[in-house]
């Protein structure tokens, strides 16, 4: 099998992986880097369960090739907490009841994290737009919007 060496920074750490270049980032993360928080829900960029940050921007890991991330930086749900402290979004998703089955949750949190980086005080309408690429089948989204707003308030206070 034809493989290539891929060097990338994942969750702040330099990693080097030998992988077929046509493999998607989703499976590079899941199979080769053992980062299983990034979920496979559709493999066509519709559900957003595989959302990660690529150089700070949310992307669907199922629609990025492993070879395309050589030399770039990826943050997954596992990389969101800092020094053992959960990201405010993670805590507020729990507290607001925004997690039911939780399969969509890592993707929703990654999209929300990117939103708060760019817009620390989003309106509900802005949150809805930022999360449109993340499907959730359990919650009906309301508590997700609440969680993001609560996290924004906390981040803003700090």
């Amino acid at each position: 099998m034809n493989t290539m060496k891929i060097n990338l920074i994942v969750n702040g750490q330099s990693r080097s992986v030998e992988a077929p270049p046509g493999k998607t980032l989703l499976y590079l993360l899941r199979d080769d880097l053992d980062l299983l928080g990034t979920k496979d829900g559709c493999r066509e960029g519709e559900c957003g369960a595989c959302t990660v940050l690529l150089d700070g921007e949310p992307v669907n890991a199922c629609l990025v090739l492993a070879g395309q991330v050589d030399g770039r930086e990826v943050v997954t749900i596992e990389g969101l907490s800092q020094n053992g402290h959960l990201h405010p979004l993670q805590r507020h998703f729990v507290e607001a009841g925004a997690v039911q089955c939780g399969f969509c949750t890592p993707g929703l949190i990654m999209s929300s994290a990117a939103l708060l980086e760019q817009n620390p005080q989003p309106t509900e309408e802005q949150i809805r737009h930022a999360l449109v690429g993340n499907l959730c089948r359990c919650t009906g989204y309301t508590k997700v919007f609440e969680a993001v707003q609560h996290a924004a308030e906390e981040v803003d206070r700090d």
Binding site: M1, N2, M4, P20, P21, G22, T24, R43, E44, G45, E46, G48, T51, L54, E57, P58, V59, N60, C62, L63, V64, L65, G67, Q68, D70, S111, A114, R128, H129, A130, L131, V132, G133, N134
Partner: protein, 285 residues
Amino acid sequence: MMHELRLETPRSLAEASRILKETGGKVIAGGTDVIPQMRDGRFEANTLIDLSRLPDLDTIKEEGDFIVIGALANYTSIRQSQLLQETVPMLLEVAGLVGGLQTQNRGTIGGNVVNASPAGDTLPPLLALNAEVVLNNSDGERTIPLSDFLQGPGQTAIAPHELLSEIRFQKPPAGTKSTFLRLGNRRGMVISIVSAATMLLLDGGNKIEEVRIALGAVAPIPIRCPEAEALLQGQVLTEALIEQAAEMTVKAGSPIDDVRGTATYRQHGIKVLVRRGLLKLGGLR
């Protein structure tokens, strides 16, 4: 076979052209169309040529009377472009409607053009702008109108060893308004059932100096509506005239039935969207 696949990452357009000529590989940029196609086995290639690292092909800039959008400009950069906001706001509207943010961060305008889907949302606005596409190969480049480039669903005039490098169009005269409207079966992340791009320039007396109408998802390729444009040209914009023009645009399309909607609803939708677009641009509603 997919596992024998090689990935080439050229660092210049010339290198990309050379690799393309040598390998006959499949070009990929944002990957939002190519990767699902690859997964479905819809093309066979031993080599993928990743353009995403080519320098300077993602810029949006003015060149004299022209606006030039690099083929690698993604939807997010279009959505955030001050230049496009001031000159062709409908391109921002379109870019904000394509997929979710994840897709907007990856998908490129060049990919949408080359993919040539009848429902490709950037195509009606670009057709309305009389856009041209710049095609490169290892021997040089050529520029052809987008209307000649698009030949059918998924079919274009791109030659086997050519790359799309730029999309260019004349900057609309000051005061030109534009809008992109569409119908979908859901509010977020949806492929258009029917879409319409309209551009309008009025003089001080509400007379139409310039009007352009283009439709998506109502024919094998996105189309313009020359009869309706001719009817409107030079006339004073009124609701009655708009109604007449909207009626006329219905005949421009040849829609089909598919999972998203029937031809009947698409015909209905054309009329509604064209009417709404013109009313909105004319300040009549």
